[in-house]
Each structure stands twice: as C-alpha cells, then as structure tokens.
Subunit: 184 residues, 2 copies
DNA sequence: TGCACTTCTTGCAGAGTCTGCAATGACTGC
DNA sequence: GCAGTCATTGCAGACTCTGCAAGAAGTGCA
C-alpha cells in the first residue's frame, strides 16, 4: 500500500512517527486526509507491518490445539512461534526494509502498536492456561499470568534481538523459552 | 488532589476513562480545562496513582547498588521490589480505593499509564545488565532483554494478582521471581 | 499603605487526531 | 441505459493538548 510507504518514508525523514502529520502523509500519498482514515483507524496503524493481526480468540484456540500432556510452558512456546510466523515477521521483503529501519530507530513504536491488543490477549491466554492447568480461574494462582507475561517478554526479546542481529525468529524464540523454562 | 478524585469518580460513573472528557473533569473539579493541563500533561495522567514516577536512570542506579556477587536475577528482583514499594502500591488509603476499582474494571489503563516509561526503562536496564554480566552491549545476548521483560512481567503479574487477592506486593514479587528463577 | 514579585489560574487561538454524514464519481451487472 | 455498489472526498464538529499573554491573589518589604 502506497499510503504506508509514504508514512514510513516521511517518518524516517522527519525523525519519528510523531513528527509527521496525517495531512503530510495524505499529501505524499496523493489522497485526502479523510481517505487516510478509511484505510487506517489511527495514524499509528500506518506504521504497522503485520498482515494478520491475531485476535485473542485465535490465540486461545491455538493453545487448545496443543496436546494435553505437553508441558504448559512448551505449549505456550509453540503458540508464540505460531503467532510470530503467521504475523509475517520473517518476511524480509524489500518493501519493508524501511519499516524495519523505522522500528530500529524508534523501538517504542513497536510497543505502541501492540498496546491495544496486548492486554486483552494476555488476559484471555492466562484464563485458558488456568483452565488447562485444571485449576480454577485466574486469580488464585500467579503462574498463568506470569507465564503469559514471560512469553510476551520472550517474543519481544526475540524481535528486539533480531532487529540488530538477523536470525530466524523461531530459533530466537526457542532460545528465549529455553532460558525461561530452565530458569533465569 | 481533587482533580484526580473527580476524574476517577467520573470515569467509574461513565464506564471508563475514555468516556469522560477533560471538560467534564474540570467542571466537576471546579477548574478550567486549561488548568487541568497545568497539573497533568495528559488526560490519562489524572488516573495515575503513583506518587513517584521512577526514571530510567534511578532504576539503573538502584541496580548498581546491588552487590556484584549477587546473582543477577536476584539483583533485578530486589530492584523491582524497591520500585514497587517506593511507587506506593502498598498504600491502601481510602482515597485510592476508587482508583483501585477503576484499575480492576479497566486493566488496560494500567498498561497505558506505564507505556511512556516502560520502553526507555527496559532498554536502560537491559544495557546495565549486559554490563553487569561483563559482556558487551545488548544485542549479542538474549539474556539481558529477556530478564528485564520477565521482571516486568513478574511485577505486572503480582500487581494483577493483588488486585483480586490483597497480599503484600513484596511477597507476590518474591513468589513470581521464584518461579522465574527456578524455571517455568 | 504602597510597590514589586511570584504564583495560580484563566481565556484564546490554534494544531492535530479522529468521526459521522452526505455528495460525487467510477465501476459492475443486467 | 439503469440500478446498485464502492471508493473517495469535503465539511462540520468533538476532543486532546500547547503557547502566550492577561488577570487575580498572595507575599515580602520599604
């Protein structure tokens, strides 16, 4: 999409996503500002690369497909890997190179983009883990919430690491989870 | 501060922080909207309870005070506990009960409030940990970033847990870190 | 009392994000 | 040629947030 391209290019030129206005992006993409918001719900959304945004329900469903006798931490690891691969992080199309550069220069953008999702997703996952562990609801045990939080930390660490040190994301996620499972 | 009180009360009555305008809050607190922004940099800030916002530098300094022979994960645990206690989470003044209720009903608010800080702080901490581990900069090793992410996950899990299950935050943080250190 | 100084508050104008609505024009199928 | 759909747009408006300058109120001092 040309709008995204214009947005990323301008953000890089102007020193960050916050230094660019929707009007400038629209002008560069040769559309009206109103049309911009037909394509993106927010300005930030134009800086997001993920072709497929996972819903909380999809992620929970993914966890349900894991065998019941698999250790929970391993099951969660596989879910995270599934999310990461389907989210297209491993696509290094030239088209996205500028976007990768933008993320490298403005790491906070990454967090901002996920914010909306993250909280709801984490809560849903923690609930499902609590169920899987056979116990009651979340709240009686720290473990489910902690595991989910650590899993997202692993994903973030892997993404972060890959930004300066290109390696397959799956490998990095495995490594991070090894550390978590064995103990920090 | 009465502004905060009005903000929290209105947010609870209207079904969330986003359903209240600065104008409404100002009116309820008997000030002008302009004055609101003299006290708070953003609307969200009026829903924050933390009397002391840690800067990234302070947190890094806190880590530096830990003995060099202490296991790094333990050192980080103590830093997190120091942050939590000094941030006033254990103050259960009646004044804040409504705010606790607001957090319970709108958990995403908690994340939103920290967003600005979190990223910068995490990066700085990871850097310091990389130094402490004697190695090079962050980027050559997954561990520092992962440890910081997991530590914040522990803090969040503890806060989360306490919201439905009042116990001293220090205990919960210890428990969470025990899980992390022993392995998930 | 009168004068300067500071601090708090406020109004105003304006930038910027985002939404709802209605109009226009292009394209599609019949 | 006509109806229906869809993308695009303009317009008006709500809302957050900022800079500036003007008042109001209090404080210290001669």
């Amino acid at each position: 999409m040309q709008i995204r391209g214009a947005a990323v290019r301008l953000a890089l030129e102007h020193g960050g996503p916050d230094e660019v206005t929707v009007e400038q992006i629209s002008q560069a993409a040769d559309i009206s500002p109103r049309t911009f918001f037909n394509y993106f719900p927010t300005k930030d959304a134009a800086f997001s690369l993920e072709p497929h945004q996972w819903t909380a329900e999809e992620i929970v469903a993914e966890l349900r497909t894991r065998p019941a006798d698999e250790p929970t931490a391993v099951a969660v690891r596989e879910v995270v890997k599934a999310m990461a691969s389907a989210a297209g992080f491993d696509d290094f199309a030239e088209e996205w190179e500028l976007l990768q550069e933008l993320y490298r220069r403005h790491p906070e953008l990454f967090l901002r983009l996920r914010m909306d999702q993250v909280d709801r997703t984490m809560a849903a996952l923690a609930d499902e883990i609590a169920v899987r562990l056979g116990g009651g609801a979340v709240g009686t045990d720290l473990y489910p919430t902690l595991l989910v939080g650590a899993a997202f930390a692993a994903l973030q660490a892997a993404e972060n690491h890959r930004r300066t040190n290109p390696r397959p994301l799956d490998e990095l996620i495995d490594e991070a989870f090894d550390l978590l499972i064995k103990g920090l």
